[in-house]
């Protein structure tokens, strides 16, 4: 019990469970999942599917924040990726063609990677503070996306492109599978190799890390490039789901949702430590909140207040002081060496 209360993930998981329970009370068939046209169908599947872009963006954000950084430009990269893919498809004249779709997707991801690397360059090489460096692209990026689409909402009707955001494979939405694969790859790379430790080290003390021989510039550069790539994939999902590139509203405020997901998940904003599983739970808390608003019929304006209350509650619960107090209150069997 003591360890459970102290564990970093406990409160986010409790919050998520409470939210799901609230939905169950509001709508008794909330947990029911049935097979519809050969794939799974239900509220939970909707939440995971609609949450997939946020999960991806938050995943990239976790690693950036772990190095004491911040990436504000992800929302703009989401818009640019969609704009690039849809513009190529629309101007190709043969958008149903699978090779054309592959080219469009590859171009969008390449653009996202380049933009992420640009952020990395500004932070790692030029030495601009991350919040300022990524603010540049946050501001300019949406304009860039509008330039690409010439200020229009570019609509495509390619069935192959639609698979990314709205298709199904193995009975599950493709977007969930894509997010799961990228998440697993990131988890393996950071936990089974020394990469995770190196990222932590950069976050704890970049100067000491450099002196100790950690390739600080390279790490910084790669986390921003990875964050850009994640945002690019998220952008493809969002635009593919509605088969259109809406440069004005695609990915709007997603950077804030992602930062929230990271913080709720227990990764400190000061860097030096990160939790990918925490971020996953955090992203689903945010998506479940959104779904609750639609189910319960709460006006979007009011919903922002509720969102803030939940986030504040989880953050307070996670604060080191609160956690150590909770630990002390629980009557415990005498055991040696549990003080953290």
């Amino acid at each position: 019990m003591k360890n459970l209360l102290a564990a970093r993930l406990t409160w986010p998981v409790v919050a998520l469970a409470a939210l799901l329970l609230l939905n169950f009370v509001l709508q008794p068939n909330f947990f029911s999942i049935r097979v519809q046209d050969g794939h799974l169908y239900g509220s939970l599947i909707d939440i995971v599917r609609n949450g997939a872009p946020t999960v991806l963006v938050a995943l990239g954000m976790t690693l950036v924040i772990a190095t004491r950084g911040l990436d504000l430009s992800v929302g703009s990269i989401v818009a640019i990726a969609g704009a690039v893919a849809c513009s190529i498809l629309a101007s190709s004249g043969s958008e149903a063609n699978v090779p054309v779709v592959i080219v469009a997707v590859a171009a969008a991801l390449a653009a996202a990677l380049v933009l992420g690397a640009w952020n990395g360059f500004l932070v790692a090489v030029v030495g601009i503070p991350p919040i300022v460096a990524t603010l540049i692209l946050m501001t300019a990026g949406r304009g860039l996306a509008l330039l690409i689409t010439q200020g229009q909402i570019v609509t495509v009707s390619s069935a192959a492109y639609r698979v990314i955001g709205a298709g199904f494979a193995l009975g599950l939405p493709v977007s969930i599978l894509i997010a799961a694969v990228i998440y697993a790859a990131a988890a393996l790379l950071t936990r089974k190799t020394a990469l995770g430790m190196l990222i932590d080290a950069v976050g704890v003390n970049p100067i000491a890390s450099r002196i100790a021989g950690v390739p600080v510039k390279g790490i910084n550069w790669s986390v921003y490039a990875f964050s850009g790539l994640c945002a690019g994939v998220a952008g493809l999902m969002i635009s593919s789901n509605v088969t259109a590139a809406d440069s004005n509203s695609a990915g709007l405020w997603i950077e804030l949702d992602a930062i929230l997901a990271v913080v709720i998940g227990g990764t400190p904003v000061g860097g030096g430590r990160f939790s990918l599983s925490g971020t996953l739970v955090g992203a689903f808390i945010i998506q479940t909140l959104t779904a609750t608003a639609y189910t319960a019929g709460i006006a979007p304006g009011v919903m922002l207040v509720l969102k803030a209350i939940v986030v504040a509650a989880v953050c307070v619960m996670q604060a080191p002081r609160v956690r150590s107090r909770a630990q002390r209150r629980v009557p415990s069997r005498p055991r040696a060496g549990v003080r953290s």
Binding site: T155, V242, P300
Partner: protein
């Protein structure tokens, strides 16, 4: 100095009136080649808006009237700057589609002092001084809602109870308020209609889809979806198809706008009925400019011709639609 400027403005105003009177006196068809119209557009945020811009540009070109066009990129400051520059250029008429409702009094006072008549297109402004603009050319959103309600009543004449889901536009925006008011007023007197829920879909496809997804779980027995624009209707259709139901058959869909994508969905029978919101204001605006500069009086409020579309009408209209 300020007095001198005031006198100058007064002279300019008198001159404009005299000039206008002069033209009216000639009768017949006054020449329009000397006219210059400044048009300050909101931006290029939607296909509706781009169709609106294109139509206005081509209408003026066709009429042989010089059009000075500016795009405010959704910012009031840009639009005010554009209007100021039109005043300095002494254009004959200023037309603009206001980004927001309030904050126009100062710049429109300047236009008034310079004797330049102002025409509002599409959107309205809120002001205590009605003399600041001559007329407003644009749709009546409440009437659009009413048309949707009338069709719903006719379509479900034989039904005993109808469960309606409303997917509203951005909360607080003029089209959302009007389209909700008109629709609810129209079906309000028929007790068999019950609105199971009314949710904000933000005028976007993603918004329409997520609202519909959640509502299908809460109210799987909904009979009619009223989406306040085509984008949200297209999103809702996607969610309905995801649930294994057929949009337009088990669940009927009404929409507003009649954009190209919406009309195609209507032609395929996925949407059942669309109320048009007409962006083609060009010809009417040219007519207004000619009348105003000729000193003729115009009504304070002009609505563009707008119709409604059923599936057959959409199939017939699609090949020649301009947007």
């Amino acid at each position: 100095m300020s007095r001198r400027r005031l006198i100058g403005a007064a002279i300019a105003a008198c001159a404009t009136i005299l000039l206008a009177g002069c033209q009216a006196g000639h009768g017949g068809s006054p020449g329009t080649s000397h006219l210059v119209v400044g048009f300050a557009q909101v931006g290029a945020e939607s296909s509706w808006r781009t169709a609106n811009t294109k139509d206005i540009e081509s209408a003026f070109q066709h009429a042989g009237i010089t059009l000075r066009f500016s795009d405010a990129e959704q910012q009031q400051a840009n639009q005010i700057a554009a209007i100021r520059s039109y005043i300095q250029q002494r254009v004959s008429v200023i037309a603009f589609s206001p980004v927001v409702e309030s904050g126009w009094d100062t710049v429109l006072q300047e236009a008034k002092a310079a004797g330049i008549p102002v025409i509002l297109t599409d959107r309205a402004i809120s002001t205590d001084d009605p003399s600041l603009y001559v007329t407003r050319l644009g749709s009546d959103f409440t009437k659009e809602g009413e048309k949707a309600g009338v069709w719903a009543k006719k379509e479900f004449a034989a039904a005993s109870s109808v469960k309606v889901l409303e997917i509203e536009g951005t909360t607080g925006s003029a089209p959302a308020i009007g389209r909700t008011k008109g629709f609810e007023k129209e079906i309000g007197d028929d007790s068999k209609f019950s609105i199971v829920d009314s949710q904000d879909g933000g005028f976007t496809r993603a918004g329409g889809e997520q609202v519909m997804e959640a509502q299908l779980k809460a109210h799987p027995d909904v009979d009619l979806v009223y989406a306040q624009n085509d984008d949200m209707a297209l999103g809702a259709i996607q969610a309905i198809e995801g649930a294994g139901e057929r949009p337009g058959k088990q669940i009927k869909v009404i929409s507003v706008d009649a954009t190209h994508d919406g009309m195609e969905a209507l032609a395929q029978g996925k949407i059942n009925f669309i109320v048009e919101c007409n962006p083609l204001l060009g010809d009417e605006l040219v007519k207004l400019v000619k009348k105003v500069t000729a000193g003729k009086s115009v009504p304070r409020r002009i609505e563009p011709p707008e119709r409604t579309f059923t599936q057959e009408q959409a199939i017939a209209a699609l090949p020649t639609r301009k947007y």
